[in-house]
Symmetry: C2
C-alpha cells in the first residue's frame, strides 16, 4: 500500500478517543483521519461535526480512505464492517477480540482472498505487543506454552482484594466506577473476555483456529472470603490465568483462577496490568507485562498497527499454513482446589488422587487431581456454593488409559 | 531487497552456532547459508569444510550473498566487515554491542548513505525484542525512562550470591565455567557490557548518539559480604541496573548496582535473564524479560532480524531525525549507599544530605544524596575498599543552583 495513510474510524469511545489522542501527540507518524463513523448522531463530540457520520458506507466506499480502524463495541456489526472493508481492498486495524474470536476463520480467509492485511495487536492484552512477538516464532514446534493474565478488570478486582483487603463486591463496584469493568461485568468476571484473547493467541502460537465455545472458561464470580483466607495463609495470590500449552503433541487450553506463588512473575502484576509468559525452544522463557486496558494504552497499540502498515507488515500465520495440524484436547489432568459448602458435599470420585481436604462447619475443600474432560462435564460448574482454583504447582499432564502420563510439563515461572 | 535470503556469516562461535541451530530447526524461514568466515582455518568444525573460509572478501564481494551476519568477538575487525558490507549494498545483521557503541554515528550514516538496513536486536539483551519495541514509539517526548538488568553474567553471579549464599569469587568462577562470563570478566563485572547496550538503547529511546566514554559505569567488582548482609537485612536484592531517564528535558544515564525491593519487577529476574522497564506517556509502564545471553536465545534474536529483512524492515531512528535534540547531563542528584573501611573515612561533604550512617570496627557506610557530576570526579571511584550502590527509593532529580528541583521522577516499579 501507499505510505500515505488516510484513515476511516469506526467508534469514538474509550479506544477511539485514545487513538485520536495518541495520534495527535505523535508527530512522527503521518496519518490523517478523514471520517469517523459512530452510532448516535446526537451525542456531543470533542471534534468538529464534519468529522462524524452515522453512515458506514461513507467510509467503506470512500476511495480516498485506505485504512479502516474498527473500534466499536458491537462484535456482529464490527464483523460486517471489517468484512466489507477487506472486500473493498482496505487494510483494517481492529481492537475487537470478540469479533475476531467469533469469526476467525472467515477473517483469515478474507485476508488471503483479497490480499489485504488485518492487524489486531490491541485486541489481545492492549499495550503488550504479544501477537507480533509470537509471529516471530515461525514453527509450530518452537512454542511450548503461552499463559498469563489477559484481563485487566478482574486483575484490578483481585489486586484490591489482596492488597487493600477489600471484599469482592466493593472491588467490583470500584472497577465499574473507574470504567475498567463493563456495565454488564459478566464478560470480564466470568472470564469470557480473556477467553476471546486466548483464541487469538492460540492461532498465533499453535496455528489453531478454535471457536470460543470449545474453550473452557471459569471466572472469579464465586470467589469467597474463605478462598482468599486460604490463599493468604499459604502466601499465595489468586490470579485469573488463561493458558495454552502443548502436552503430548496436543494442545490444552482454558481460563481458570490460579494460586500464584511469590516467585512466579505473575505475582507482581497488579491492577489493570496484564502479564504473559511465553515458553519456547530457543529463547526458553520470555515475559511481557503492560497495561491491558485503558484509553491511551489501547490507542497506542492501535497506532502501532497503523504504523506497521507503512512498511507493509502483515501477519503470516505460518504455524497454521505449514506443518502437521495440531488439535485441542480436554484429556489431561490438572490439580484443582475445589471449595464447597460443608452442608452439600461433592463426589470425591471425580478426583484420581486427593492431596488435601478440609472442612469446618460452613466450608470445605479438596485439593486433588482431576481429568479436565470430566470437569467440563461435571455439575460442579453450575453450583454457586463452589469455587475452582488451579493449584500453584499443578502440572498439566496427558492422560493415557486413565493413567496420567509421567511426562511432566516444564514449569514456566 | 529480494525475499530470497542468501547469507554470509562471520563467526561460528557461541552465537554463530546458535544461529545455525535455530535456522536449521525453523523450516518456516527460507534462508540459505552460502559461506562462513572464521579466524582459525585449522579449528575443527561441526559443518563440512566447504562452508568455511578465512578470506573475508569471499563473502563481502560475493554477489550471490545479500545478507551479511556479523557474529565475531573483535569489535574493530567487525566494524571493517560491517562497513564494507553496507558499502557493497548488503543488508547486515550484527550482535556486536561494542562495535555499535564505538561507531554508532558512522554506522547510522552508512545506512543512510547506502540505503541498506543494519539490524542488531541481539546486541541489546539478546532474546528481548527491546529495540523493535522502542522503535514503535515515534517521538522523543513519549518515552520517560528505560532501565533494567542488561548483563546476564553479573546477574547470574548476583543470583548465586543472594539465592544460594555463595561468595562473589566462587560465583564468578561458576559463571566462567558455564561460559556466561568472558575469560577476561572485566567487561561484565565492571559494567562495560551493559554500558554498550545502554548506548544503543539511548539512540532508540531519546535519539541520542553518545560515545561509551561519556556514560558512567560502576560494576559489582567491590561487592563485599558486608554489602550483601546489609541488603539481606532490609529484604533487598542487589542488581546491576543500567538506566536512562528524562529529567527536566535532559537525559541522565549510567550503570550502577542498585538495591531492589521485592515489589520491583526486577527482583525476580534471576540468573542469565535480563529485564527491562519502559516508561512512556501512553502505555505508562511496560516490562520485558528474557534470556540475555546464550547460544540459542541470541541466535534466535539474530534470526528474527534476518526474518524482518524479508519484509524490508529497517530502523527509522525517528527520534534522532526529528524534533529538538536532547543532551546528556551529569547534573542530577541520586541517593547512594557508600560503603568504606572504617580505618579510611570518606569526605562526607560530598553529600548534600545524609540519610543514614553506620560504622563498626571494620566497615562503615553512609546513605545520602549526591550530585552525580561530583561523584564522577570523585576519587571514591578509585578506592578498592569502597562500594557504591544506588538506594532502593532513589530519585533522579535535576539540580538547579545546587538545590535539587522538587520535580520527582516517576517511580517505575
Ligand atoms: N476499553 C479498553 O480498554 C479496550 C481494550 C482493548 C480492546 N478494546 C475493544 O475495543 C472496542 C471498543 O471498546 P471501547 O471501550 O472503546 O467501547 P466504547 O467506549 O463503548 O465505545 C464504542 C464506540 O463504538 C460506537 N459504535 C457502537 N456501535 C456502532 C456501530 N454499529 N457503528 C458505528 N459506531 C458504533 C459508539 O458510538 P457512540 O459514540 O455514538 O455511542 C462508540 O463511539 C471493543 O471491541 C473492545 O472490546 C477495548
Ligand atoms: N555469547 C552471547 O551470549 C552473546 C549474546 C549477545 C551478543 N553477543 C555478541 O556476539 C558476538 C559473538 O559472540 P560469541 O559469544 O559468539 O563469540 P565466540 O564464541 O568467541 O566466537 C567468536 C567467533 O568469531 C570468529 N572470529 C573472531 N575474529 C574474527 C575475524 N577477524 N574474522 C572472522 N571471524 C572471526 C571466531 O573464529 P574461530 O572460530 O576461528 O575462533 C569465532 O568463530 C560478540 O560481539 C558478542 O558480544 C554474544
Amino acid at each position: 500500500m501507499s505510505k500515505k495513510i488516510k484513515l476511516g474510524l469506526f467508534g469514538f469511545g474509550c479506544v477511539g478517543q485514545g487513538l485520536y489522542n495518541v495520534l495527535n501527540q505523535t508527530e512522527g507518524i503521518k496519518a490523517e483521519i478523514l471520517k469517523i463513523c459512530i452510532k448516535n448522531a446526537d451525542k456531543k463530540r470533542a471534534l468538529p461535526a464534519e468529522y462524524f457520520t452515522v453512515e458506514k458506507n461513507e467510509i467503506l466506499f470512500n476511495d480516498d480512505i485506505n485504512v479502516v480502524v474498527e473500534m466499536i463495541d458491537d462484535a456482529e456489526a464490527a464483523f460486517e464492517i471489517v468484512k466489507t472493508a477487506l472486500q473493498n481492498g482496505k487494510a483494517v486495524v481492529t481492537a475487537n477480540k470478540k469479533m475476531i474470536a467469533d469469526h476467525f476463520v472467515e477473517l483469515y480467509e478474507l485476508q488471503q482472498q483479497y490480499n489485504v492485511p488485518l492487524l489486531y495487536e490491541a485486541s489481545a492484552c492492549a499495550s503488550i505487543p504479544i501477537i507480533r512477538n509470537l509471529e516471530e516464532y515461525y514453527d509450530n514446534d518452537l512454542l511450548g506454552a503461552v499463559e498469563g493474565i489477559f484481563n485487566g478488570s478482574t486483575n484490578y478486582i483481585l489486586t484490591k482484594i489482596f492488597k487493600d483487603n477489600i471484599d469482592f463486591a466493593t472491588a467490583l463496584k470500584q472497577a465499574q466506577d473507574i470504567g475498567f469493568a463493563e456495565t454488564d461485568p459478566t464478560l470480564d468476571v466470568e472470564a469470557y473476555d480473556p477467553k476471546y484473547k486466548l483464541c487469538i493467541i492460540l492461532a498465533h502460537t499453535f496455528g489453531l483456529f478454535v471457536k470460543p465455545e470449545e474453550v473452557f472458561n471459569y471466572g472469579i464470580q464465586n470467589l469467597s472470603t474463605f478462598d482468599i483466607q486460604y490463599a493468604n495463609e499459604k502466601g499465595y495470590k489468586i490470579k485469573l490465568v488463561a493458558f495454552c500449552r502443548k502436552v503430548d503433541n496436543k494442545i490444552v487450553a482454558g481460563v481458570l483462577p490460579r494460586f500464584i506463588k511469590p516467585e512466579n512473575k505473575l505475582y507482581n502484576i497488579e491492577n489493570e496490568y496484564n502479564g504473559i509468559l511465553v515458553e519456547s525452544a530457543f529463547t526458553e522463557s520470555q515475559f511481557f507485562a503492560g497495561k491491558g486496558a485503558g484509553s491511551n494504552p489501547t490507542g497506542s497499540a492501535v497506532l502501532s498497527d497503523i504504523s506497521a502498515l507503512t512498511y507493509n507488515y502483515k501477519y503470516e500465520y505460518k504455524k497454521h499454513n505449514r506443518g502437521a495440524k495440531v488439535e485441542l484436547t480436554d484429556n489431561f489432568s490438572v490439580d484443582l482446589y475445589v471449595r464447597y459448602s460443608t452442608a452439600n458435599p461433592i463426589d470425591t470420585k471425580l478426583f484420581s488422587k486427593i492431596k488435601e481436604s478440609y472442612a469446618n462447619t460452613d466450608s470445605a475443600y479438596v485439593v486433588g487431581t482431576i481429568n479436565f474432560s470430566d470437569l467440563r462435564k461435571s455439575d460442579l460448574l453450575k453450583r454457586k456454593d463452589i469455587n475452582l482454583i488451579v493449584a500453584a504447582d499443578s502440572k498439566f499432564e496427558a492422560i493415557q488409559n486413565n493413567v496420567a502420563s509421567s511426562k511432566e510439563a516444564v514449569e514456566i515461572c
